[in-house]
Symmetry: C2
Subunit: 341 residues, 2 copies
DNA sequence: ATGAAAGCGCTAACAG
DNA sequence: CTGTTAGCGCTTTCAT
């Protein structure tokens, strides 16, 4: 019985005009109790569906937003997605999601497609090396919030939400130092990503502040193959003359790979080597031994981002332009488990 | 310079009619070389964006589809999502995603919202216990494909894509039997989900075919708390009089929990107890020891589902009704790693 | 090969 | 409180 396709038919069924039907549907203007009931009833029993495309076309704005994610290779992104989605839904917005696969090109394509779909704004976890498309968005006057992944230069110009990644690196390293570790290696993600530069900087400063010097040999940079490459690097460095007795992995999946390599080397964690990760992905607690890691409030980051986007959309509607950028920094926790001692 | 908002403005700039512009934009009908170029140029340099809402409204169908997922608690869903998304994009479709959180109510809400947005079809991994909303979809004449999760009754009436879950259970159990295990426990997911019923049935039959009898005590059902509940159940059964020497976990996350419990019990895997999972989630290979598991072609399942949906959409456009349901069954592999011997 | 015009379903003045 | 009407941006007959 899905034949009723328009407000017009409802109007005819009730012997009223389309605007009356529209009015009861939107509940803005006053309608006589009787007429309202009559219309409501017709709507109910006919299974009428308001055509949101028509509404959006007319109003000039769609209640949709777009969330761009670089990958699902790291579980943090589904987590962020959940946060965004829940606040979006609560506010009558529907979200498009886009996986850019770390490819700025596909980010740009997606941007165009989404603009054509008239989305109200974007929330982006940038792909690696993609500054260009992103700036364009704000220049186009489109609401935008960056989450977790963004460039240093973005901070002054765009709205962001993240943790203080410098401190993430600092705190993790300091913890390792205090637990008595002498040679702490870092498995660092692609430093094209500002967050990894920051974590690395925190690592270096923590070392220096403890009166140690930074040993270049202990800085493992993520190879082109992605985090799997840390497997060989771990084996190699552990077999070297002066192996580390701890790893600070700048993300949990890298810690997983490192732990795998250590196990294969028959080394004891944490006895021989401590490992700490970042993100507190669910699986971190299932590892053997359970992984000490830094917990980011990923879900909340998604929620905050969506709230900020909503604010931007609202502001723009009122003042005709985007509000000044806002940078929100959330707290994190070091979650100590058995992979360190 | 994003002032050009309509085809009409382009038309004026070029001194042609809107229909001509529309024609060159759609490339269907013939347009004189000259005019085409003129229009193209104006489109390029003005940064014109076709309003897809208007197009869809006019054509009566949007190039969007909706993918409903129950959760991101299991990594298989992002994998399926990737498959769906890639085929969708290739075919000019944009996907909405929806996380139902195992809540049939939110599934229904999402369905309504999405219908209002005029999506062309749905791909669903059902939430637990949600038959009702789903049947409604086909009755409404809306293209629909079920992936991985669906009910037994769905098979004859709806299009599905999955692996043969009975065989998944059978093969895994048989493998454990052949590797010399005497008491094989099963950690079974919620049997409200047909796929788990099937895996359980496969487990039972493999046991019987090997001349053993099924011991109820070895059938661990997923408790209400979700797979974390297997932690206590594993400890308890291992401490019982007659503990198992192997676990068939009907999904990798359950295997992770079980391994954690075994480690905490200081039991050796696989020496004391073997473990096999299902899904071959990326992390499975990072576990200590790496987890033997059944690999489903999740990405391909997503791709197939999207292709089937496209077929349905096409068919409906031509014949005005949905094609008969089609059930596609894909192959799987047992991936042997160190958690079994 | 191109233009004029109708209309997709809806909202929002405007008028009464 | 309600109806009439214009029009959002686009596609698509139907003419020419």
């Amino acid at each position: 019985m899905d034949q009723v396709t328009s407000i017009k038919e409802i109007a005819q069924m009730c012997g009223v005009s389309v605007s009356t039907v529209s009015r009861v549907l939107n509940g803005k203007s006053y309608v006589k109790e009787d007429t309202r009931n009559k219309v409501m009833e017709a709507v109910e029993k006919s299974g009428f569906r308001p055509n949101l495309l028509a509404r959006s076309l007319k109003k000039g704005n769609a209640k949709t937003i777009c969330l761009m994610l670089p990958t699902f290779g790291n579980l943090i992104f589904p987590e962020i997605l959940r946060g965004v989605n829940s606040i979006a839904t609560q506010n009558g917005y529907t979200a498009f999601f886009n996986i850019t696969d770390e490819h700025p090109g596909s980010e740009e394509m997606a941007y165009n497609e989404m603009r054509n779909l008239q989305v109200a704004g974007f929330i982006i976890c940038s792909a690696i090396g993609d500054e260009n498309p992103i700036y364009r968005i704000r220049e186009d006057g489109v609401p935008l919030v960056l989450v977790n992944r963004f460039q240093k230069e973005d901070i002054s110009r765009l709205s962001t939400v993240s943790v203080d990644n410098y401190r993430v690196g600092y705190v993790s390293t300091q913890y390792l130092i205090r637990s008595g570790r002498k040679r702490i290696a870092i498995a660092c993600g692609d430093t094209e990503l500002y967050l990894y530069t920051e974590r690395l900087r925190g690592y270096c400063d923590a070392l220096r502040d403890a009166g140690r010097k930074v040993d270049e040999a202990l800085i493992l940079q993520e190879p082109a193959e992605g985090h799997d490459g840390f497997y060989d690097m771990t084996k190699k460095i552990m077999l070297s003359e002066n192996p580390p007795d701890a790893f600070f992995a700048t993300a949990d999946p890298k810690a997983f790979v490192i732990m795998r390599a250590l196990h294969d080397l028959k080394l004891q964690i944490p006895h021989d080597v401590s490992v700490v990760g970042v993100d507190n992905v669910e699986l971190a607690s299932y590892m053997e031994p359970p992984l000490t890691t830094v917990g980011q409030p990923l879900n909340r980051m998604g929620e905050e981002a969506m709230r900020m986007l909503l604010d931007q959309i609202e502001y723009k509607k009122q003042y005709g332009e985007l509000p000044p950028p806002e940078n929100r920094v959330l707290n994190f926790d070091l979650i100590v488990r058995k992979s360190t001692e």
